[in-house]
């Protein structure tokens, strides 16, 4: 019972189970994506604090997240939702820490997340963020998430939320959001 190796592996298993619980926490602005799929969830650590009131072990869980954009208003809601889920799961102490480095990038979006975005009518980011920064570089060729036509035009580099741009498809005439690459 006091074997530290066993204690560590048990904690790792616990962290995995916390990650599974956190699949219930989604981006409030794109509610089909979990914070893990968004790449917002960076780390989970569980420590045993000793015996709790009921005689069982009391645990402290620390969840580390990173913001997508500096001013993203969803972060406060995400932090609250993480707390809710884990306190309800019986953790004695829940800490949510925010880190800035390394800076969030759309390269961290999970493949499952990209498909969910497309199904929701939001075109997923095209290409990788690394290497961008040319003053007037070409915008990527974005396919329409509804009819898959490549004949689309950017209407505005800024869309309904900080992370999106606004496009229109010239084939089916539908406007759509593009999850822009950063």
């Amino acid at each position: 019972m006091n074997d530290p190796v066993q204690a560590i592996s048990k904690t790792d298993a616990r962290a995995l189970s916390v990650r599974a619980m956190l699949n219930a926490v989604v981006d409030p602005e794109i509610p089909v994506l979990t914070i893990a799929e968004m790449g917002v969830l960076r780390d989970v650590a569980v420590e045993t604090l000793g015996l709790g009131e009921g005689g069982g072990a009391s645990e402290r869980v620390t969840v580390t997240i990173t913001p997508t954009y500096s001013g993203c208003p969803a972060m406060a809601v995400i932090e609250m939702d993480i707390r809710d889920v884990l306190l309800q799961a019986g953790f004695g102490e829940v800490r949510v820490e925010t880190v800035l480095a390394p800076a969030w990038t759309t390269d961290w979006l999970a493949d499952t997340g990209r498909e969910k975005l497309r199904a929701l009518g939001i075109a997923p980011p095209v290409g990788v963020a690394a290497g961008k920064g040319v003053l007037f570089g070409l915008d990527p060729q974005v396919s329409c998430p509804r009819c898959t036509s490549a004949n689309t035009h950017m209407l505005s580099r800024f869309g309904s939320t900080a992370c999106k741009a606004l496009y229109r498809c010239a084939a089916c005439q539908e406007p759509f959001d593009y999850f822009k690459c950063i």
């Binding site: 913001p67 954009y69 500096s70 001013g71 993203c72 208003p73 800035l100 480095a101 390394p102 800076a103 969030w104 990038t105 963020a129 961008k132 920064g133 003053l135 007037f136 209407l155 505005s156 580099r157 800024f158 869309g159 309904s160 900080a162 606004l166 822009k180 950063i182």
Partner: protein, 254 residues
Amino acid sequence: MMAAADDPLFEYLLRLGDNDLILGHRLSEWCGHGPVLEEDIAISNIALDLIGQASLWLDLAAEVECGGRSSDELAYKRDVLDWRNTILAEQPNGDFAVTMTRQFLFDCHHHALLTALLESANTDVAAVAEKALKEVTYHRRHSGEWLIRLGDGTEESHGRAQTALDNLWVFTHELFEADGVDQAVVAAGTGVDPAHLKAAWDAMVNPVLAEATLQRPADGWSIRGGRQGVHSEHLGYILAEMQFLPRAYPDAVW
């Protein structure tokens, strides 16, 4: 005074945060008044980015000060003479050409500054710079494309853009002037020398002005002092609006 407020890094962080907060607040005045819906949304997004960045810088400033003031207190409980933003950032929105010209001149400086700060010896400073630079890259493209459209547009839009450029140019010199605070953070490896940003700024500004068929104003008379707390009359009005609630209802929560 708080002991650690003498730390030049504190002053430097205020300058970074105050620029973002004041210009972010200015841009938010466009919300609901944009010339078209897409532009209304774009300006509000840029305002949101800047206010988010301001909160990161002022959080760091509060940490460095160790004086018990939070970033909210730094934002809402300082009066005009304690603000460290450049005078360019506080200039009124004017017409759309003024807003976009101010934005472009600011964005090019912001981009050069953040790029240089990636090398800061202070890892927190470098982390905020890395985060903010991604956002500012979008801001600069947006304002640059607008300036080209306005300058190379109709006679009316060209005239307005050139007038805006001529009027705002006097505020750009301040962006590249170093004082004791800058020298101290450069020596510590945590900040950058403003004068070293000029070449990068010119390399971004000149091609856009040329494409916009706008004439780069001659350098001459200039207005300075914002980074030392000497502001134009416009800052007080921004603070009056921005700080009203926390001053009228101290400790209000919502």
